[in-house]
Structure formats: structure tokens, C-alpha cells
Symmetry: C3
Subunit: 203 residues, 3 copies
């Protein structure tokens, strides 16, 4: 197994954890938590691949993704009390996860021959759509509406990857730089409470 | 027409009824009720087939499914007052419907050559995703969050079907046994108010 | 570029505007508004094409759709105050948009060889599903539940197009007549506050 594949599995694991934990503060049994974790973990990549007509879907083709997801769900259910105290750690893993999926998603779309603008959207979709579907499932305030820099960081990383790719930058260097861009934007934005301006209809 | 096809149409009919009736207690006109019934009836099987790249979709390929759905919607709209008093009967039909779709969904996925673990998920998806999408459409508390054994009964039936299939059990025997497992789990769980433990973050 | 293609781009532009503006009265930053506008604009046609297995998706194949969407989002964000006073104009554009997508969606489905009943559903889906997904994203009261004639006008136009098509009516004449039917139904219904009866469980 190459390193990126392992990272991909680890990212999937943490997406499943975050999805299963999203059910807190609500009436929700452990099976519902697992279901939500599953959808969160596969949502983004599945939507990207369905839009691109890229079959078989990654997690259907390789059952190891399923076990990464089951592992994440089990971890969330068994250790959810401990995990509620690990918010900072979880936030970091979520950030690493979306950064990874942004650049890998953009690369996969590029490899299928779509226009660079489309590939950038696909990178962002890969990273954030799992969370969007999770929020629709749990009737939660969608993550896209919270005052945080989230999807835009993913889009920035995907765009950078595509630009560097077109300049012929070596793949691994490009993956790391673009990955880091997402992480840095997100960390800086949260640390300094940066956010996009709001549309305020009331004024 | 073989018997399973008729069962499939009947299950589709009752899913459409349950979807159209889901709009009670809300401002919702009869057309919205029909729309919701339609999505509920096709949702689970459509999602399964899109994920598996199995085209043409069943209800697009055979217009009789459409008429089963229209019949269910019309029944719900014309007799909704009477039906509100038939909750127990509706609950029974819903249980028969999800049991049927769980085993048929798992069988279809198996026939497409996916791993058994994937086939089990697909069986469950076929049965419950229509209801999940219905609840997202109507902004209702998702069925997965209610304290009931629902999706897990479907998963159990799908898993049993796959296990017996691998042991070479004759198809019709297997379909009936696995179908009954879903029905029995669901009925016993509701009768004795069994439920999965909840994740309680408050403690 | 032929005229219908330009209309299609213009319809996409206005769907993006309506999606981006749907976030008013909520905490939502400009990026979230753009994201919602994007999903609204591509939602209906994408769902239709995924259900029909019609790849590559229109907006993935032709990047001009993406720029129509970006233009719509930018317009909504830059001029949202002015636009809040243009409700009537926006309503008119939305009506033109759904009328156009209803007939073009039905025609595309017919051209793929599905049954006429399916083609009618696909016409309606093309027109309204973007808005349905937008409402699910923003946790809004789904447009299908509001007491307005909306999806049914689209369905009527799609059905008329298919009927006239089968009678051999010339394409452009058919497109215009069916388009106008949707517009007239919607305008008359809103003007005279016509609506479908509601399912009232309370009585």
C-alpha cells in the first residue's frame, strides 16, 4: 500500500468519526450515529464520482474503505465521552481530512479530463459534501452557513493544485504544498476568527 | 408476471402511500404530498442503482412502477382520513415493504458482483433511503433518529440473506427466511419497546 | 450559439441568482450563498441526467454553464440589496426559468427513449429539483410545501410538450406553446391565489 492510500483510509476513518459524533445533543441511537458516520465518510467522494461517471465507486470497489469507516464509527461510539473533550484534536483531524480530500479530489477530476474549473469544484465537493449531507441528515445548521472559513479553504487548495499541476510542478511537491494551503487557511481563519462577510438583508 | 415482481410493485405502492401521508400536520397541498410519495417510493432503489451504476433504473425501464406509485399517491390522498385511523395496518405494510426491499436489494447487489459487506449495505439502503430522503424533504425528524429498531432490522435481514446465499441455501427459502427475520425483529422491537442505546453526551 | 442554448445559459444564471438569494434572513456568508447558488443552478438538470445515465453532465462538459453560474452568484452578492426590492422581477425570471427547463428537460428525456410518462416526470424534475435541494440545504420550508402552484405547472407544461410531440407538432411551435402554458398557469395561479387543496388531518 502506498502512503497516499493509507492517508486516504485515515481521512475516511476520521470523517466517519466526525459524522457519528455529529448526532450529539439529539435523540439518536448508536445505530443512527453509525449510519450518519457512514454517509459522512462516503458522501463527498461518492457525489464527485457519480457526477464524473467514475465507476465503480472507490468504497464499493475496495472493501478496506468500509472497514476504515466501521472502525471510525466504533471508535466514536465507544469513546464518545472522551472524544467530547478532544474537540481541538478532532478539529485538527477534520482539517487534515478536508485538506487531503480537496487535493486528491481535484487530481482525480483532472485525471478524468475535465476542465480545470470543474476539477476545482470537484476537489471542494469531495472535501465538504460529506459534511453537507451529514447536516441535512441531522437537520443541523449546515456547516456552510456557519461563520467559518471552510469550503473556501478547500476550493483554494484545489485551485492551487491545479495551477501548480499546469506549471508542471512535481506531483508529491504539489500535493504537499496544496494540502498545506488548505490547512494554513483554515487554522489561521479559526485562530483569528476570520470569516467571509455576510449578506445582511436587514440593514 | 412472477410473484416477486408483484410483491415489488405492492411494496412500491405502500412506500408511495407512506410518503404521501408523511406530510400530515404541515401546510402541504395534495401535489406536494404526491411529490413526496413519489420520491419516497423510488428513493431507496434509485440510490442503490446509482451507486452500483445499474442502468436503466428499474422504474424508468418499466412504467408499471410509475403506475403503482400513482396508485399509492391517489389512495393516500383520497382516503387520508380513513388511513389516519389505520396506523397499525400502515405500520405493518411499511414493515413488510422494508423487509422485502432489504432482501431484494441485497440480492441485486450480490448479482452485480460486489463484496458481501457492500451488498449488505445496499440491501439496507434500498429499504430505508426512501424514508430518509422523505424526512429530509419534509424537514421531519429523520426516521433514523427515532428511538426505534428500523434500519438495523433491514441490515440484519440483508446480512442473513447473504450468509445463507453463500451457504448455498435455495433462493426462495432464503428470501422467505431473511424477509421474516426483518419482520420479526421489527415487530418484536416495537412490541417490547426495544431500542439501541443512545449516545448521551449530557452525562 | 443557437437561441435555445443562450436561453439555457440565461435560465442557469437566474437559478444561481435565486439560490444565492435564498440565504437571506439567515446567518450565511457570501461563500455559503455562492455554494447554495451553485447547487440550485445545477441541481435539477444534474439529477435528471444522473437518473437517465446521460453523461457527461451538461455543466461538466461545457464550462460556459459554470461561468453563467458564477455570473449569477456574483450578481446576487453585489446587488442583493437592490434585488430585495425587485421581488416581482425575480419572480418573473424564476417563472421563465422553470418553464424553460420543464420543456427542455422533457424533450431531452424523450430523446433518450424513455416512456412519455417518465419524460414528463423528468421535465418537472429538471425545473424544480434545484429549488428542492436548495431548500434542503438551507433547512427552509421546502418550496413544494408552500401553498403555491409550482411543480404542477411544470408538470403540465412537460405533459403538453410530450402530447404535442406525439401529434407531430413542429418543435419550435411546441416549445413555445408548452413554455407559455407553464408561465400562464403559474402567473394566473399566483395572481388569483389559486392553490391545490391541502390534506388537512386535523379535521
Amino acid at each position: 500500500m502506498d502512503l497516499l492510500f493509507i492517508f486516504d483510509l485515515v481521512g475516511t476513518f476520521f470523517f466517519a468519526v466526525s459524522g457519528a459524533l455529529a448526532v450529539k445533543d439529539r435523540e439518536h441511537d448508536v445505530f443512527g450515529a453509525g449510519f450518519t458516520g457512514f454517509i459522512t465518510a462516503i458522501g463527498g467522494g461518492t457525489l464527485r464520482d457519480v457526477l464524473l461517471d467514475s465507476y465503480p465507486l472507490v468504497w464499493i470497489n475496495d472493501v478496506r474503505y468500509l472497514y476504515a469507516i466501521f472502525g471510525g464509527i466504533l471508535t466514536a461510539i465507544l469513546f464518545f465521552k472522551a472524544m467530547s473533550k478532544l474537540r481541538k484534536t478532532l478539529f485538527l483531524f477534520d482539517t487534515l481530512g478536508i485538506a487531503l480530500f480537496s487535493v486528491l479530489g481535484a487530481e482525480k477530476a483532472l485525471s478524468m479530463g475535465v476542465a480545470p474549473e470543474i476539477a476545482a469544484m470537484m476537489g471542494m465537493f469531495s472535501a465538504v459534501m460529506g459534511g453537507v449531507i451529514r447536516d441535512m441528515l441531522t437537520n443541523d445548521t449546515p456547516i456552510l452557513m456557519r461563520k467559518e472559513v471552510y469550503a473556501s479553504a478547500c476550493l483554494a487548495g484545489a485551485i492551487l493544485f491545479i495551477v501548480l499541476f499546469n506549471f508542471g510542478v512535481e506531483r508529491n511537491v504539489n500535493l504537499i504544498i496544496s494540502f498545506l494551503l488548505v490547512v494554513v487557511i483554515r487554522l489561521v481563519a479559526v485562530r483569528y476568527k476570520l470569516s467571509w462577510p455576510q449578506l445582511d438583508w436587514k440593514k
